[in-house]
Symmetry: C2
Subunit: 233 residues, 2 copies
């Protein structure tokens, strides 16, 4: 993959750009107090993420933005954790934990370099308002917000990957999908995008150990700064 | 309109944020040389803008991004101007004139103030890639790109106005549509958005004199700095 062919980079966000586990646990502690195992609750909530989107992907549910799926799965998490008495307002506020996640330390320096050369956009399952909140909170320098809500399909539906070159008006092969998850990259490659794997060993706090590299990807890196270096930015 | 209720501002772009006439004429001169009346060509091209979108709005054409409509109407402009021998590559390059327009002088200072308090996005008939190019060229500090291509409808179709509060996850009454054109603001009000009229006397170089204010709008201002002042930003 030579830098001269790349026009745009699109990013998975939860786990790749931001630390969802640490951020959600912090907000759970803040809102529900020290008596709750905040990390366990974050993990439980995240485990319901893929199944909740699968209900939309399968047609069981009509298009539903991620905030609403998070709200619904939170009810299940709280019920199964003996926390059924958490009031509705606190639940609504907890959903906004996903709007208040911190980027990994290498993200802002790396994106700052990449943005000088390439168009940058999130291509996440998170809804537009969530991406706007994350970006405003941390200064993520996106050129625009792409992703699931724009096309009303969740990854790994092909419509999401196709929308990036289409809306940026460039060939699929000039767009790099950047993600810490092999399945996201596999689906992106199937639609003609280039792929860069980012190793994020702390995403699951050691519960799941991601591979050090993706042999199928055009690039495997350990940080966004290394990605910038590899792309000559 | 009190500042505390406003959450987001969405902007018409051609004429409101950027000077399309001066920018297109500059690019026409650069690409076609001094023998062409560049300003007349810019005006002729712009006159075909609304009718070309009307073909999509009426269903006569399927969804077509603005770049493609511009390319098609340019062919008509050149044919009717005795410039039928302009080669295809120059035509493709001329279409990109619309990606290289300068903002009015008050725009960057005004948006810089507004962005501290409010979410900002273009809500234009220009396609996403065009908005990204304009923003990167001049440093327009958008939080995301909204508009026609996202919903595959051209203004004044209601879907475009509805998409702003929907994608930003805020009530319509907390979104302000900012435009230099009364019809845009009328259509936005019909969907529950608030409206701010910006007086841009130079948009048409004196050929059309816009009104000094819009009595129906929540605000009428002469610059984005005045808009920031009025909203307490």
């Amino acid at each position: 993959m030579t830098a001269v062919e790349v026009r745009a980079l699109v990013f998975d966000v939860f786990g790749t750009v931001v630390d969802w586990r640490g951020g959600v646990a912090r907000e759970v502690s803040r809102l529900l107090g020290p008596g709750v195992d905040a990390t366990a609750l974050a993990d439980d909530w995240r485990e319901r993420y893929a199944p909740s989107m699968e209900r939309v992907r399968s047609g069981d549910l009509p298009w539903t933005p991620l905030d609403a799926l998070h709200r619904s799965s939170l009810d299940d998490v709280l019920a199964s954790s003996g926390l059924g008495d958490v009031p509705a307002e606190a639940r609504d506020e907890l959903v906004l934990a996903w709007h208040r996640l911190d980027p990994w330390p290498d993200v802002l320096p790396g994106l700052g370099r990449l943005r000088r050369e390439f168009v940058l956009a999130p291509l996440s399952n998170g809804n537009v308002a969530l991406q706007v909140d994350l970006a405003r909170r941390s200064g993520l320098p996106w050129d625009c917000v792409l992703g699931a809500e724009i096309v009303r399909h969740y990854k790994p539906d092909p419509e999401v990957y196709d929308s990036a070159p289409q809306l940026l008006a460039v060939p699929p092969s000039s767009v790099v999908m950047v993600a810490a998850h092999l399945d996201d990259l596999t689906a992106a490659r199937a639609r003609g995008l280039r792929t860069a794997y980012v190793h994020r060993p702390d995403e699951f706090g050691g519960r799941v150990v991601p591979p050090g590299s993706d042999p199928e990807a055009d690039l495997s890196v350990a940080s966004f700064e290394e990605l910038a270096e590899a792309l000559g930015a």
